[in-house]
Symmetry: C2
Subunit: 237 residues, 2 copies
DNA sequence: ACCTGAACACCGTTCAAGT
DNA sequence: ACCTGAACACCGTTCAAGT
């Protein structure tokens, strides 16, 4: 071990920087959800007092925004270049890449999906200038004109948002505190084990098991195919 | 004024009850967003101390869940019975009824869309036993079999979630505090007036005005038509 | 340069006490 | 029955002070 290396480590202190703070925040959100992320807890997780974090982030809001950015960062480098030789293939690999984020971070994805977009042209879940620009440029190269590019961008983002947020909210939710609403006649009745008690004879009760099946993957693939088919018609007609 | 009426008013006290608390909470969320809803502020709005609210709600979480329920409450009575004579018409009027909720309460709709569903068969934004049951029963009456009903339910909810949350997040957002992230080279650059500064030459910059147009209504109508067409094919084939 | 102690102005929630 | 004062255990954030 050279004294240079030691020096380097000592200069770096605990090695704390913005990326490390955001990484720790993401881990915490993955475990407990964004609601339970506190600056004090985040500091503790990094072996430091909460106040130290303000050297790297401007506050809790900046942490959350930074986590969103870190999830989308470098996303365009993860799309499959092989598949990107057609616009259909590009949209497919891009969709799958973003879906991977939602599946890997179901508790963080709602942030990507619902935080107020910084600009109207940053439609969730494509909340990244880098991603949106790549999208627009790529479709333009495939021969879409401006109106078509924008139209595809709109349908594509709505499609992703609906499917991925739904999938994330079914997967996520972790150990949510079982809350008993105060009894008020017509409310639904969460029973003591946290599951909803269904009124006898209701259609939901009869179809309960079928409704509870998880077909996230097939649903996504089928709807993506349908979207591409529809776009294809819109382009060639 | 009879002494009976006075008595009645006095017995009712400030007329506080669960519905009044939830209504005040919704008004507050409409103005300031759910994040800024506090029990203390809610009490103040009702002329009462925060602790008094705990007589009607079990806590802040219960308030938020109650607001969601109140938004969806009685929704099935607001669908147009004329249009409900065909399943296509039913899905259309139901979709429009739910869209009205999203448009009227853009700051509250993210709650409907993203709070962890109480059960896997309560897919956001259809987070209400009443609505889902009505949906399943009605489609069954129109001749869909169990598998078809469930499939339609899945596509319909994904469609609504994607379009309405996107529309709500563009409309909502109110007076968000302008947050400056700490400078870190590769981040995007929010300029002093809160708008994002676009890199020169980027495709987003060139298409900025087209991307910023609001076509929420047409988009919704067109995608709804497309969905219905697709379902029609799935049913008759 | 990096971290912290102390402090400020808040939170949600409980509970015994008031009327 | 309905409301509250006081208290507890937290928050995010600032800033002067330490090393």
């Amino acid at each position: 071990m050279t004294s240079g290396a030691t020096e380097e480590r000592r200069i770096a202190g605990r090695g704390l920087d913005r990326a490390a703070v955001l990484a720790a925040a993401l881990r915490s959100i993955d475990r407990n959800g964004a609601q339970r992320l506190t600056m004090r807890g985040l500091g503790q997780q990094l072996g430091v007092q909460a106040m130290s974090l303000y050297r790297y982030v401007s506050g809790r809001e900046d942490v959350l925004e930074g986590v969103v950015a870190s999830l989308l960062d470098g996303l365009v480098d993860r799309v499959d270049p092989q598949l990107s030789s057609t616009w259909q293939g590009y949209l497919q690999t891009l969709a799958h890449t973003i879906r991977a984020v939602a599946i890997d971070h179901p508790n963080a994805f709602p942030l990507v999906a619902t935080r107020h977009p910084a600009a109207p042209w940053l439609r969730p879940p494509l909340r990244s200038l880098e991603v949106v620009d790549h999208f627009l440029v790529t479709l333009g190269r495939f021969g879409f004109n401006d109106d078509q590019v924008v139209q595809v961008y709109r349908s594509f983002s709505s499609f992703l948002l609906g499917h991925l947020l739904l999938e994330a909210s079914l997967h996520g939710g972790e150990t949510s505190p079982v809350e008993e609403p105060i009894d008020e006649g017509d409310a639904h009745f969460p029973s003591s084990d946290g599951t909803l008690e269904l009124p006898p004879g209701s259609e939901v009760l009869r179809l309960q098991s079928k409704l509870s099946e998880d077909h996230g993957h097939e649903e996504f693939e089928m709807s993506l195919e349908t979207l591409l088919d529809r776009l294809e018609l819109g382009v060639t007609q």
